[in-house]
Each structure stands twice: as C-alpha cells, then as structure tokens.
Symmetry: C2
Amino acid sequence: MQEQTCLTSDLETAVDVAAIKTYLMALQESICDALEQEEPEARFHEDAWVYQQGGGGRSRVLENGLVLEKAGVNFSHVKGVALPASATAQRPHLVGCPFEALGVSLVIHPRNPHMPTTHANLRLFVAYPSNKKPIWWFGGGMDLTPYYPYEADVIAWHQVCYDICAPFSADIYAEFKDECDRYFYLPHRQETRGVGGLFFDDLNRWSFARCFEFVQAVGGGFLRAYLPIVKLRRDLAFTEAERIFQCYRRGRYVEFNLVYDRGTIFGLQSGGRTESILMSLPPQVSWKYNFLPQEASREAKL
Amino acid sequence: MQEQTCLTSDLETAVDVAAIKTYLMALQESICDALEQEEPEARFHEDAWVYQQGGGGRSRVLENGLVLEKAGVNFSHVKGVALPASATAQRPHLVGCPFEALGVSLVIHPRNPHMPTTHANLRLFVAYPSNKKPIWWFGGGMDLTPYYPYEADVIAWHQVCYDICAPFSADIYAEFKDECDRYFYLPHRQETRGVGGLFFDDLNRWSFARCFEFVQAVGGGFLRAYLPIVKLRRDLAFTEAERIFQCYRRGRYVEFNLVYDRGTIFGLQSGGRTESILMSLPPQVSWKYNFLPQEASREAKL
C-alpha cells in the first residue's frame, strides 16, 4: 500500500483509498456488463474526463436501447484544495480542507413504463486537515422509482435492502430506509420520489474496513435487487397512455434532481462536468398542467 | 381610491395597488385573447386559487394547441405577513415586514421549432414596515429563446425593446438588456438562455406613476414584439430532426428555471401553487448525453 493512500483514521483503521478505488471501478464494470446482458441493442459508451483541481472520472452512458432507454454509470475520483460547505453539513470545521472524493453513481431509465427507474450511489470522502489525521466518511444508497408499481417488486426490493443491512446491525435497515424516504421527498408536491430503499451519509460508525464491507454489501446487493425486476417487467406490453404517464412522472425526477438533490446542485455549482452530472435526467419528459389521473386508476394509485 | 391601496411613498407619489391590479388583470386578458387569435384549436383554461396567507391568483393555461404547444399566462396577488429574504436581496432591512406582491407572468412554448419560446413578467412589491411609509418597487421584463434563430426576428425583438425604453431614458435599454443577459445565464453550460430582451428589478428610480408608465410600456410592447414573429414562423415547415433539437434545447429551459430562476425557487420554497409556478416548464423535453451538433449546422450556430 502506498503512503498517501494508507493512513490511520481516528477509528484506528487504515484509510485505504486505493482499495476503494479498485473496488468502485470494478463495480462500475460489473454493473455495466450486467445491464448490457439485459439490453439487446444499445451499448455503453465511455468518456474519460479530467477535473480541473485534480483527478477525474470515467462516465459510461447507454442511450436509446430497446430495454434501457438511458442508463448512466459514472465513476469519479476528484481531489480539491478546499472542501466546499455543501459537502459536509455535519462537519463545518472541515470546510476549506484539502479533500478527495470518489464514487460510483448510476441512474437507469428503462423504456417500458412497467419497469421502475432506479438510482444508486456509493462514495467516500476524505478530508485532510493540516497537522491532523485524515477524516473519512462513506455515503450512498439505492432507491427505486416505479411508474406502475407492483407490490411484489417493492417487497422484493426492500427485502434485499433488509438483507444487505442485517449482518451489520439490527437497526440500520429501518434507519437507512427512513433516511431514504426523508431525502427523496419533494416538498412542493408533498410526494416521495419513488418507493425508497437505503440512504446513508456520513457513515463512519464502524471501522474503515467494516464500513467498506457495508459499502460492498450495498454494491453487490444492487444488481441482486434490480435485475429480477428488469427480467419480470421488461417484456410486458404497454400502451401509449402508459408511456405518456411515464414521461409525465419523469418530470418529478427532474424536479427533484434539479431543485433538491444535493449532489446535483453541488456538482453544477462547483464546476463539475455538467454532462456527467446531468446524465441522471430522463431521456424523454413531459410536463402537463394540473394533471389529474382518473379516479381509481393505476395512475391515481401511484 | 381606497385607503389601504393609496399611500404615499418616499418618492411622494401615490402607491396605487388597485390601479396596478386592474391594469395587470386587463393585460392578462388581452394577451390571452391575442394568443388565442393565433391558435386554431386549443383554448385557455382558467383556475382561480387562494394563497394561504392572503390573496390568490388566476392561472390561465392553454395546452396541446396546433401553434401553441403550451402557453401559461398567470395573474397573482398575494399578501404575506413576512417578506422572505429571497424577495429582496437589495433591501435586507425589509425582511420580515408584511408585504403584498402582484404580477403577471407568462411563458409560451410554441410547437413549431422555428418559433421562439418567450417569457415575460411584470410585478409590483410593496412592503409595509411598521410605523413607516410603505416601500414599493416594480420588476419584470421580457425575453426570447429561439431554437432556430432568425437574425431579422432577433433584431426586430430588440428594436421593440429599445422603443419601449427610449421615451424614459437614453440609457435604460442598454442597462436592462445587460441585466437580462446576466440574469438568463446558465453558468454550468456557460450559455445564455436565449437572445435576451429586457430585465429590471427593484425599479423605483422614478415616481410611482412614471414607473407604472414604464411597466405599461413593457406590457404593451410584448405583443408588438412577439406576434409578428409568430405570424412569420408559425406555418414554416419543419423536420422531425428540428423537432428533436427543439425538445433537446428545451432541457436548458428546465435547467435554468429549476436551478437558477429566483422566482421559481422562491415560489416552490415558500409554498406557492406548484402547478402555477411550474406551468413555465415545456410540454415535451428530452435530455441527450453529450449532444454535439454537426459542424456548421444551424444547431451548431445556435
């Protein structure tokens, strides 16, 4: 292990940035491979980019597929001279420190309205206060946004989330599920974005190694949760009206990401690569004024 | 004139809220009427709504027209117990005062990609500090967002803007044009939203009556500037590729309105009527990753 990536944290475990990087890049690879297995037509295209202050990323985007209308799986590892306030609400004393941040972030917008949109993200922040030990924390999660929800899918999705958490502590599924519901919420609509999943931030309650194990559990669990739903719903017939409803509901996704999502706003305002940040936005979206679904319809149920 | 709507400002002219209200409601009416003349199929539908703290609005939206794919022309007059900080960057001492705000705001998204999108807004704020004279200021403007710009249209649009301003002062066209270019700017894209027009805020440099005359000049000028462009471009043939480019470029409109527009963000965060605030969003939008137009094409020119 190299000196600059192997340091002792306040919890007395090695902060092994290189190991996280290796893991995250392999995770990006394996998720893209698995998604391509589900997609008969389109393939991921890769763009490497450089961050102005140091580091960069590897964006992979698949567009216009038969099954996957748009899927983006991004890896990035950026280094900065001064941690911005928006990156650490809970640690104001670290603002201005040199830092590095690395992560994988993905959003999948399927074509079939019976397949849910999904988002997942895993990241590590390390801040380097002068003359002190580095401070690290993980963040991430995975969440699901159906247009035509199937109760069985929602239960299975949350079962995987539960199974990911169970080996680590009896309580964290409930805790991270609640955080997810609180975070993916549109106050101006009084709606959650989707049916939730897991969301965690500022994760350093265990040793670095144990937190990394949790991150790996989420990373491994993601495909185990999402792929069965893809396989079940990808070939269902859908109507033009269902497609229109899907495009309308995608507007909520845009509203959340552009108005509330801390990652998106931080990225845009800190000079990140716009096309990589906004790869999360859906391919086709519509806004209709004051849309009211028919009473007792599946749209109303949502 | 009623006592509560006729007060003396620090510039010694009557603050005649009732007169502004009458004018703005008539302006909403006349703009809707004129737009319907251009639209063979769809008609405006009206929703009246009530604001929680006092007052309310009259939203008028036309959707799915042959010429006008979506047009919203909203009037609102809201009263609040405490002026929010976001409403008055330049007058921090007024934050927390009782206030009222009234205005007309409109956005027109035409179907034909050769017709530009347009936005206009006229508003009056009055703050009522305790034991002091009310403080008032006007704001507003009009701006144009072409997808396939015609130089003649842009020149004619700015000529009307110039003519609106000329009787008031030799310099304000340049001043309000610059403000417009600065305001409708997407830093993350390093792009302006459209080709500009006029933008003014905190307008109280003349007497209340004179400022009101300026607001009326903008209100009257809007149709004089926009309708000729509608008539010139509404029947031009367009290709599927041009339509796709229009939907792609509309994404910039969404990005601006949801990430930067002070009115939209203030509205969403202060509990305004979401459907009226977001009527500005385009009906059909697409995001494509890293779109690069063909060299020397009309898309590249934009």
